[in-house]
Symmetry: C2
Subunit: 213 residues, 2 copies
């Protein structure tokens, strides 16, 4: 198909398609004559994936480029793809608090990971983010919120098994790799959205009880 | 205490403290003489809360100001605080896809909410975000990822009960209100971080099995 049809099929304007190609997100089409370029079905799908990453997932062009680089890598694996996608969606943690606070929080995170029997490394992009959260909760003496982390971890463990299980049922490697990208980029957003809806429900019920604030 | 001690105690530089005061995030100290202002313990705590929102939670100054406005409101309730905090952390969803896609996805979200027995309104900031995610998964024909939403919803329901339950045990309204802010602003980040660590674990185990990608 020509670029006009690609634009119509995906809802992405022609100049934006050209921009994504220049930025290395979309592979160029096949030049069939000096002023004609042909695009394939794979371009439709790739454009939808790019749009999901940038517009729904809120990734930067640079982060999306890194993810796409791994998607297109001949050496890609599902496990490697997960690491790249996770790094792309995780904002760098700001280190605040004293060295002592950090060491204590790092120890707590290590203990939590051990308690849940997880084989994971401190290089995991979630690790430092979690340490920063523990430092913050400690700083504000919110032991009640710290105690919730084990409940979150139980839920996270169950979700990871369900997610990777769903992925195992996808027949093609292309489908698996795309599933990792979407699951990582949009899975967090889906979980946050559902948490807000569930919280509204529970909070509304609490509010209706007599003598509650 | 004087501003210098407030800065030392919280690790927030004096010009930043003044900036937060000008922006309406931090109440001004009490002027005790023409060139002396006195700050209280409540300023220490408020500064830590502001820092958690801006630096760990990634909120904008405008979003943090809205949250603080509700924290300081004489008419605040825990339920109302939750709504304001949720809106502050939820990025506006970009509407992509045809009107028909949206209607279908809205119907699916309504059905999901009904299935889980939740009393929640489409005005909930998570609702539109979830519709956008359903539109995206449908557009890419990822029924496998759509099917996971019920698993996420089960987890979200359990977490909401645990979160609101922990809050019920906090004796003061101040503590409850601060707990809602922190739980909303940092709770999502904590859950995302733990999901990454759990996913690394499960993905690593799958990878070690023979014949897996």
């Amino acid at each position: 198909m020509r670029i006009g049809e690609l634009a119509r099929r995906t809802g992405v304007p022609v100049p934006t398609i050209k921009y994504y190609t220049r930025e290395g997100l979309l592979p160029p089409g096949e030049r069939t004559s000096p002023n004609q370029v042909r695009y394939a079905e794979s371009h439709v799908r790739r454009l939808k994936l790019i749009r999901a990453m940038l517009e729904v997932g809120g990734l930067s062009i640079a982060a999306a480029r890194e993810v796409i680089g791994e998607v297109d890598s001949p050496r890609r694996t599902v496990h490697g793809m997960l690491g790249v996608a996770q790094s792309a969606v995780t904002k760098a943690a700001v280190e605040r608090g004293t060295e002592e606070d950090w060491e204590r929080a790092e120890h707590e995170v290590r203990e939590l990971v051990r308690r849940h029997g997880w084989a994971a490394k401190p290089e995991n992009p979630g690790w430092k983010a979690l340490v920063q959260i523990v430092v913050t909760y400690r700083d504000l003496q919110r032991d009640d919120l710290l105690a919730l982390l084990d409940t979150y971890a139980d839920a996270a463990g169950k979700l990871a098994i369900a997610e990777l299980g769903a992925l195992a049922d996808v027949p093609s490697t292309d489908g698996k790799v795309e599933g990792v990208v979407l699951g990582t980029v949009l899975g967090d957003a889906a979980m946050s959205a559902l948490r807000r809806i569930a919280q509204e429900d529970v909070s509304g019920r609490v509010q209706k009880r007599p003598h509650s604030a």
